[in-house]
Structure formats: structure tokens, C-alpha cells
Symmetry: C2
């Protein structure tokens, strides 16, 4: 079965974007529900999704299990899976892990760019690994079927999370640092440990994570995918585009600054270029998944390999990850 | 002027305890408002104090400035200063620092026993020091006059907080590790750096922090005070008894476990002795401050030194710390 799954987007959702998803034949998407929001604010964001599901029943459906991806495909819709880019929704309460899972959360990053109660972020000077609470929360996430996501965490925290988690974890959106040395990209050591434990990495199309940024060629991206498959195996890779379509620049300022500083943090940007970067021409929006499919074929991946990368691997991961442990 | 100040208590407040404060001639006390509570829960705890101020106007008054200590003494009452043993009340919002100061908070620990968003706790295996948010929050605390308290933080975090803070900080309740090697007690390196920067340490009478625990003698405690004065100077030491009078053992379970674990953490206790330890006979409650005063005289401190330790130093620290920076 051929499915297309994007394991990370944070668009400014609209009728137009949902139409583009249909045109790109996207069967499932993992959407970010929060960056810094607390529990109550996260629930509000979920509630806004409930209104979208109600308004666009021909286009989108709330995804909770891998079976929902198939159902969505059969009805030519996109299954929308909820995830958190931070552990802020569980505040300091481990009991909220199960509550959030019941509300549909399927991925939770243990930290965003900064230190959290659970793990260090990749922007901290020192990464002290998984905290006391972090160990407890990983066990609880394993129990209920909430996937540990270390996309924005530091190296040590990520390696310790892979080791501490009884179930495979994910890096939903990042690329190999050996291809492009961004702070957010991952070392080969991390990618190998991730794959050896049965985990998944989703390749990012966010320009700050791409070699040559917005000028990155489709061929360069697809060669990186093929090279990574050679290193960690074809079964552990997928797409996590990090597409932030139609968002105003105030949103990237919120992502970077939340409410933790009174100064301005520019993250992967700079004072001279504080906003969202331009997408590469071959991946502007959800209609462009066929471009990637073609690009992967052109760098030599066979039909099965392309199908695995474009969604088959994420589907298998969803199947083993979202139920009780 | 002779004042008696205890810079940390968390009693199960009652008419009886307020009467004992009057008998012990306690002019000011820094009371703990929260251990793990979020902002809203902390406000609720403050609101309960408002009811106590209303019910016992002859005994207690809300303290906000050093002048309130003098006013309390003149009216034979005790000024009650609010403090947090964790940064949980500011959640992930630096704006709540000023809000909490306006509500009367005068001390805030950057972490309790675990890693926080700001600093590591003394029970974490790895102490990564002050975080990115921690540096921002220290600057904001300096600006508004909320004192950084590192009583439960790790060694590296404490040294970095002393260095990062533009104003002197406090360790409101701990003892030298060289006297009793508890995880919560402080190294000479920390105590010296604290004093050199104009900070204060309050000596704890909580049995887990005492040599010989509940059997600690008054003489041993007072010799430790005198010895510490020799090392870091008489101007930087005071009392922070950590008195937790009349609390049920469920309270110490809350302190240790909050909502961060589904297992049971025994902290300084053990499965065999999970509850509050018994106070030494010479410091049972607030009537016993004269015992300490006498004990300090008996180990050779002169009148001025005794007055400084019993409250004069804390009064001077309050005077320079609670206003805008």
C-alpha cells in the first residue's frame, strides 16, 4: 500500500491549504499543537482543531491510530495527528501525559530549544541529559503510547532518551548534521542509535535545515535521503517537512521567544533576517509531494524504497507506537 | 537594634504557632508559599495568608520591606515575608516575576530538588548550571527586587547564580557540608563565593541537615555557626530554621514528589522513615529562639555577633534586597 505521510507541519490552516493537501494526495500529517502553551492553552488549540474538523469534513479527519490513515486515504481525506513541540502542556504534572494522549496527542518533544523539566534543548550551552522527571515521564509516555520526539533536543539528551525509552522514539523533523551543520540537525551517532532502537527520523524541508538554505536543490535533498538510507537503513526514514505555510513572522518570533525572555532571541535566523525563510521552489506547499517522489526515483531509489520514505515507514511506526505499551 | 528573624519556616500555621512566635519574640519570618504549585495555586496560597492576616491582626502582619520588621517589633507582632521554594509559580512566563513581587514574594528558589526551567536541583545526577531562561529570570529578579534563593539547587547552579546575579543572593536554609555531609548542605566553596558577593546563608535546624540529626546538640550547632563565621565572616550568616511544625507527613511526601513522578521519592528520608524527623529538644518551636541566642553566647560570640546572627544580618539584607535594582 502506498501512502503519503508528512510527520511535521505547522501551517496557518485554511480551506486553501486543505485543498492543496488533497491535490498532493497527503494521507496523513502530524501537526504541531503547541510550542510554549500550557495545558489549558493547548486544550484551546485542540478545540480550534475540533472546529476545523467540523468545518472541513470532506478534507480532514482527526487521526488517532494508523488505521485512520487508511480510512483517510480511502475517503480521499487527510488524517491529522496532534503533537507537541515542547513538554509545556504537561506542566509539572505527570498525570497530564495520559490526559493529553486521551485528547489525541501522539508525539511530544521532551524539550524545545531550551532546557525543560525533562531534557535539554539544542540551544543550551550545557546538555545535562534526561532529568529525574524526564525518566518518569518517558516511562509514562511508553505506557500510554505517546511518542517521544527529540527533534529540538540536545545530543546527550537525545541519546539518553533513545536509551531510556522502552519503545522506539522519533526525530520528526531534522536532517543529518553531516549534510548541513545546523544546530538543529543530528549527528550520525544520534541517527544510528535512533535506527538501531527502531526509531524514525523525518527529513525536514525547512530552509535553515537544508544545505544551501532556500537554494537547496531537489537533487541535493534527495541524495541526502539516499545517503542516510545507506547509513541507517531505508526502514527508519521518512518526511517531516516542518512546513510553516502562510504564517506571519510573529509566529516564528513566538516559537523562539515564548515567554522565557525579555530580550529577542533570533534562533536560526538573525536580527537582519528575523522572519520565516522562503521555501525552495520545488517544495512550496502540500501539492509538491510528487516532486519529492520523483526526486527520490531520480537519485536511484526503487519503487519500494520511495514508498517507504514517502509514508510507508511512518505508517508502520504509527501502527506500533500509538497504543498502550 | 536587636531583631530576631527566621528566614525559612513552613509550619501548619495556627493561632497556637502565632502565640509561640510572640513568646519567642520573633520579629520576622520568611514563610514558604509553595513547593510545586503553579501560579494560580500559589495565588490561592497567598489568599489563605490574607485570611490569616485578617484573623490574627494582633500577631502577624504582611511584610514587604525591611521597615515592616521594625514596625512589627514595635507592635509586638511578627512580619511575615512570602517566598517560593521553586520557580513553579512563574511557570514559563518571565512576566510573572514582577507579578509575584507585587503580590509580596521576596525570595524565589531557582530550583527545588529537581531540574527546573532555570537551574538544576541538588538531587539531579548532572547539574548543568543556569539555563538560558535562568539568566533572563535572574536579571528580572534583580530588577524588581525578588531575591534569588539557591537552598535546594546543585553546586554548579549555585556558583553560576552567584556569578550571574547583579545583586547578592541567599541560601535561606542550609548548613555547611563540612559539618554534616547532607546532599542539601553547601560546600565551603559555595559559602565563600556567596559571602564574597554580599550574600547570606540561613542555618537550618531541620534534623536531616544537622550533624547527628535529631540528636544534634545545641553546642554542636552553635560551634558550627561560630566556625562558619570564622570562614566567611560574621556579616553573612543568620537563621533559616526550616521549621515545619505540626505538618502531617503527607506534606513532606508532597514536597518530595509533587506531581513529577508516579513512584515514591523519599528525598532525605527513606522507605523505613518516610515522615518528618523529630526536632532537637532545644528547638521544638518558635519559643526556642532564646536557646539559640544563649548557645551562641556560650560558644564565645559577643553581643554584637549574636545580634547579627539572630536577625541583624537578615534585616540589613532585606533592606538592600527588596526594592528595585
Amino acid at each position: 500500500m502506498n501512502v503519503t505521510i508528512d510527520c511535521l507541519q505547522y501551517c496557518n490552516w485554511s480551506s486553501s491549504i486543505f485543498d492543496q493537501m488533497a491535490k498532493g494526495q497527503l494521507d496523513a500529517v502530524h501537526v504541531t499543537i503547541c510550542y510554549h502553551e500550557d495545558f489549558r492553552e493547548t486544550v484551546e488549540n485542540m478545540s480550534q482543531w475540533h472546529r476545523l474538523f467540523e468545518a472541513y469534513p470532506e478534507r480532514i479527519v482527526h487521526g488517532r491510530t494508523s488505521a485512520d490513515v487508511i480510512l483517510a486515504q480511502q475517503s480521499q481525506r487527510t488524517a491529522v495527528f496532534f503533537g507537541f513541540q515542547n513538554c509545556s502542556p504537561i506542566e509539572s504534572d505527570i498525570g497530564l501525559v495520559e490526559v493529553c494522549h486521551q485528547l489525541g496527542a501522539r508525539f511530544m518533544q521532551l524539550s524545545y530549544n531550551n532546557q525543560s523539566l525533562l531534557a535539554s534543548g539544542c540551544y543550551e550551552e550545557v546538555d545535562s541529559g534526561i532529568t529525574r522527571m524526564g525518566k518518569q515521564v518517558i516511562a509514562e509516555m511508553n505506557r500510554v503510547g505517546l511518542v517521544v520526539d527529540m527533534s529540538h533536543s540536545g545530543e546527550r539528551s537525545t541519546l539518553e532518551a533513545i536509551a531510556a525509552s522502552a519503545r522506539p522514539i522519533a526525530i520528526t523533523h531534522a536532517n543529518p548534521a553531516s549534510w548541513h551543520g545546523a544546530l538543529r540537525n543530528k549527528s550520525d551517532a544520534v541517527l544510528k542509535a535512533l535506527a538501531e532502537s527502531g526509531g524514525m527520523v523525518g527529513f525536514s524541508l525547512y530552509p535553515h535545515h537544508l544545505r544551501d538554505g532556500s537554494e537547496c536543490s531537489l537533487q541535493s535533498f534527495c541524495r541526502m535521503v539516499a545517503d542516510t538510507a545507506d547509513i541507517i537503513g531505508i526502514d527508519h526514514i521518512g518526511i517531516g517537512s516542518d512546513l510553516c505555510q502562510d504564517q506571519p513572522d510573529s509566529v516564528v518570533t513566538w516559537m523562539r521567544n515564548g515567554r522565557w525572555t525579555r530580550q529577542t532571541d533570533f534562533g536560526e535566523g538573525s536580527a537582519a533576517a528575523p522572519g520565516f525563510p522562503a521555501q525552495p521552489p520545488w517544495f512550496q506547499d502540500n501539492r509538491d509531494f510528487p516532486n519529492i517522489r520523483l526526486g527520490l526515483e531520480e537519485v536511484g531509489l526503487d519503487q519500494d524504497a520511495v514508498a517507504a520514505v514517502m509514508g510507508g515507514n511512518w505508517l508502520a511506526f504509527f501502527e506500533k507506537s500509538f497504543g498502550p505499551g
